[in-house]
Symmetry: C2
Subunit: 509 residues, 2 copies
């Protein structure tokens, strides 16, 4: 059975049930699981683990590392079963998020390029077990990943033992799509030889000795589809501002007509903005990104994009079905890489990417909060946004200017949590407009951000704050006694606006 999927005959005897395989996980272990923004995650063993934890009396708490977020409610089930002691480097699950914010799960929010770098340097402890989804296992025991590479390769290489979830729902045609390059141990490391998004520099499989594979579990389930919302009026306007800006850059010789390779963060806004390029004058676009979303395939289908490099493909249900059925059409236009390669500062700086990521809120000086609601409560995590923004040739952050029917402004006097500071933020864009902050001092940035990006409802409030702060002076004028006035007012009244009833608008609702 499964000869085409398990080509190393000696390994066919390792097939077992998810419940049996899950017994390899013991209390206190560190476990690395595949999965990057719902793609290529393990679909059976973690769920058995949650079941076992609920049924058994003995404690079963682990450190779980992944590529990024998981699908199939795995994080929810593990949280509800109390299995998660420590979780890194990213998540998007509501139940897990609440447990993190109650301090019940220690969440280590990391740049996505850094987890396996730290693991390899023995800074996160020994990895006991890897659980990796595969489309196939080769004659030599090599693992063919599925819709993501993420951290799977290094997890499999660094772990003591590996459980493979062989997913029959992932087509064999995925084979050959991946390019696995693993950096050497420092200080003896060679340059990462990627010079273009399409360069293939590694192997198409995760190369581990077959004897490390302790169990194989057969699954047959699609990835959870992406939850990205369709474009709306605001995201279309954001895309419009951004395309005008890029046309302007090309016109002034600061970007080539083909544009530098694009990166776009996960989520509705970035996806919608990227889709906006379908109707742009740009041709022969390339991506060097982490997550390939529907928009990437929209651009390929429209003949606008010639190549896309990522760490995963996270697609809506119809797109997923179409792309997986039609892989030969995309084969020469795609590559999936380990996330430390897709997000590597060396390559990002070399290629000079345009990086487009989403901000939760920005302050008037251009500092960005990507993660902490109210400065305290974790939303998802920084993800790859820092990897890209720091070294991109143009780091763009997009957000709608208001949220919650206008009761929240995404432009605030001072962000209560800084994921990206003024040094790394080149452009801020909202549906109101775009602020090009490059080469500007903070006082200049403030004027531009308030004028161009803030919602009219909040412009005067922000100007008043800045005028008041100017009395205190400094390179970055602030009045610390008032810096969080808008946030505190929201906590008290449910709105950042001073007049709770008078100011509400339907815009953006």
């Amino acid at each position: 059975m499964y000869e085409d999927r398990i080509r190393c005959a000696a390994l066919r005897g390792k097939i077992t049930s998810a419940a049996e395989a899950a017994k390899l996980v013991r209390n206190g272990m560190r476990v690395g699981a595949s999965g990057f923004t719902r793609a290529g995650d393990t679909k059976a063993v973690p769920i058995e683990l949650a079941r076992r934890a609920r049924e058994e009396q003995e404690p079963l708490r682990i450190t779980l590392m992944t590529g990024a977020s998981l699908g199939h409610d795995v994080d929810r089930m593990l949280t509800e079963a109390g299995v998660l002691e420590r979780r890194l480097p990213f998540q998007v699950d509501t139940t897990l998020r609440r447990a993190i914010n109650r301090g019940e799960v220690m969440f280590v929010d990391q740049h996505l390029s850094e987890t396996v770098e730290m693991l390899r340097a023995n800074l996160l402890g020994k990895l006991d077990l890897a659980i990796i989804e595969a489309a196939a296992i080769t004659e030599t025991g090599g693992i063919v990943p599925t819709t993501s590479v993420g951290n799977s390769a290094s997890f499999a290489i660094l772990a003591e033992k590996v459980i493979v979830e062989l997913n029959l729902a992932q087509p064999l045609a995925l084979e050959g799509l991946h390019d696995v390059w693993i950096p050497g141990r420092r200080p003896h490391r060679d340059p990462l030889p990627i010079l273009h998004p399409h360069d293939r520099v590694g192997t198409s499989i995760i190369d581990i000795p077959p004897e490390k594979i302790a169990a194989i579990v057969i699954t047959n389930e699609a990835d959870s589809p992406s939850t990205v919302l369709p474009a709306d009026e605001e995201t279309a306007r954001i895309a419009g501002h951004l395309i005008e800006f890029l046309k302007h850059e090309v016109k002034h010789g600061r970007m080539s007509a083909q544009l530098p390779p694009l990166q776009a963060g996960i989520g509705t806004i970035a996806n919608a903005v990227l889709s906006g390029f379908v109707n742009s004058p740009f041709e022969a676009l390339t991506m060097y990104s982490e997550v390939l979303q529907d928009s990437t395939f929209d651009l390929i289908d429209a003949g606008k994009m010639v190549f896309a490099s990522g760490a995963s493909m996270t697609l809506s249900a119809p797109r997923q079905a179409q792309v997986l059925a039609d892989l030969d059409r995309y084969r020469d236009k795609l590559v999936l890489r380990p996330q430390e390669v897709s997000n590597h500062p060396e390559v990002i700086r070399r290629l000079g990417l345009i990086a487009l990521n989403t901000a939760l809120e920005c302050d008037i000086y251009g500092n960005v909060n990507s993660t902490h609601v109210g400065g305290t409560h974790m939303m998802n995590g920084i993800g790859g946004s820092g990897d890209f923004a720091r070294n991109a040739s143009c780091a763009i952050f997009a957000t709608k200017a208001i949220a919650k029917d206008g009761r929240v402004s995404s432009i605030v006097p001072m962000v209560p949590h800084v994921d990206h500071n003024e040094h790394d933020v080149d452009v801020i864009v909202t549906e109101q407009g775009l602020a090009d902050l490059r080469g500007l001092a903070p006082r200049e940035r403030a004027k531009l951000i308030i004028d161009r990006c803030a919602h009219p409802l909040y412009r005067d409030l922000l100007r008043d704050y800045h005028d008041d702060a100017l009395k205190i002076g400094g390179q970055t004028p602030h009045n610390l006694a008032r810096a969080y006035e808008m946030h505190l007012r929201f906590n008290e009244t449910g709105s950042m606006l001073p007049d709770r009833t008078g100011g509400l608008v339907a815009s953006g609702a």
Copy 2:
């Protein structure tokens, strides 16, 4: 005249006075000048420029870019003469700082690796003029830099015209010490081929066509000496904690016995800590840093350090005299590079540096403020600390736990300006102790930082804050209404301590 120093005969006719050369600078120009932390700065033309601005009636305001800070009170004189409209990427001058904080000079505080990257990409406008200190000009018009390379090479290459200050006080023996490598224009750029701190990958001169050299000014003046203070009891204790930590890392196999290459920021604390390695068990140390200070030469002289790569040498007066007289002794142990190479994320990540930089203040979650006093007023600038901390294998920030006789705590509930966030800060060390934050969640970090790093005077205050913030909860608990209580109290009373008279201590005075 100067045959040994100006070997291109055609250029000897370009010798002129500083005052004449300064006439090449006109109102509104963008000027790039050599100089990195006082080393290899231009010593005559900018001063003439200041004189001319004071004497002339017509406006003379320019954008001045340098490598980093300048000596010889150049920034003071230019500020007093009203010449500086815009200044980047770093400064340390008291007069300029005040003008910046009054909003009279637009200061663009940049990662030191990024200025010429932006200039090359035409993001900072056209560079009209470069003023570069040289030890010699070669037969082909190539410039031999002096005690710094900094941004000099790219300034000379990118500027329309170049003024050379030929400084006879800089020994000709400096020739050959430099390694100038310039990255290609993106997106067609090769890997930066440095695999070890001692690798030489470029040319020993700044290679420009001789016809670009518009004027040569002869000077004869030493670099301004560094202003670093001697080690004291606290810095010795910081060094002690750090060396214990590194020994522990070696013992547990997380670092090699030789240690990864070291980077150390400019300043008294980093210099003193580095000097502490003289009495450590570590051997065959290397540096891959930006500024080489006295401590580097202490370590070389002690036989502890085998090679040091930097962008400049900034030394005390006696060290400067000794090193410059004795260059042959250090020749095979030193290289000076462009700052975008010394600070390049690609090399920093590849070599896995230990990065040691100074914090102005840290918060209980490990966010670091390196630049803004009180969150508003610029001290010096971020410098290279971000370039290094982001990609080092171990990013350490050092500070004394208190300042101003105990009236200021360097550990605070929330920093009012974030230069390095939790994602990039691995270790915080004060004279009180060391907190290893790697792999920890914010709530865990807070406990460790308060217990290990905070001064006993402030521990209870910080614990009270954190306990109160825990009631609000979240991944990173904060009470925004109280987050800046200590800062506001200092503004009001001159002390962060609640009891102004009772709490003062002499420690650290």
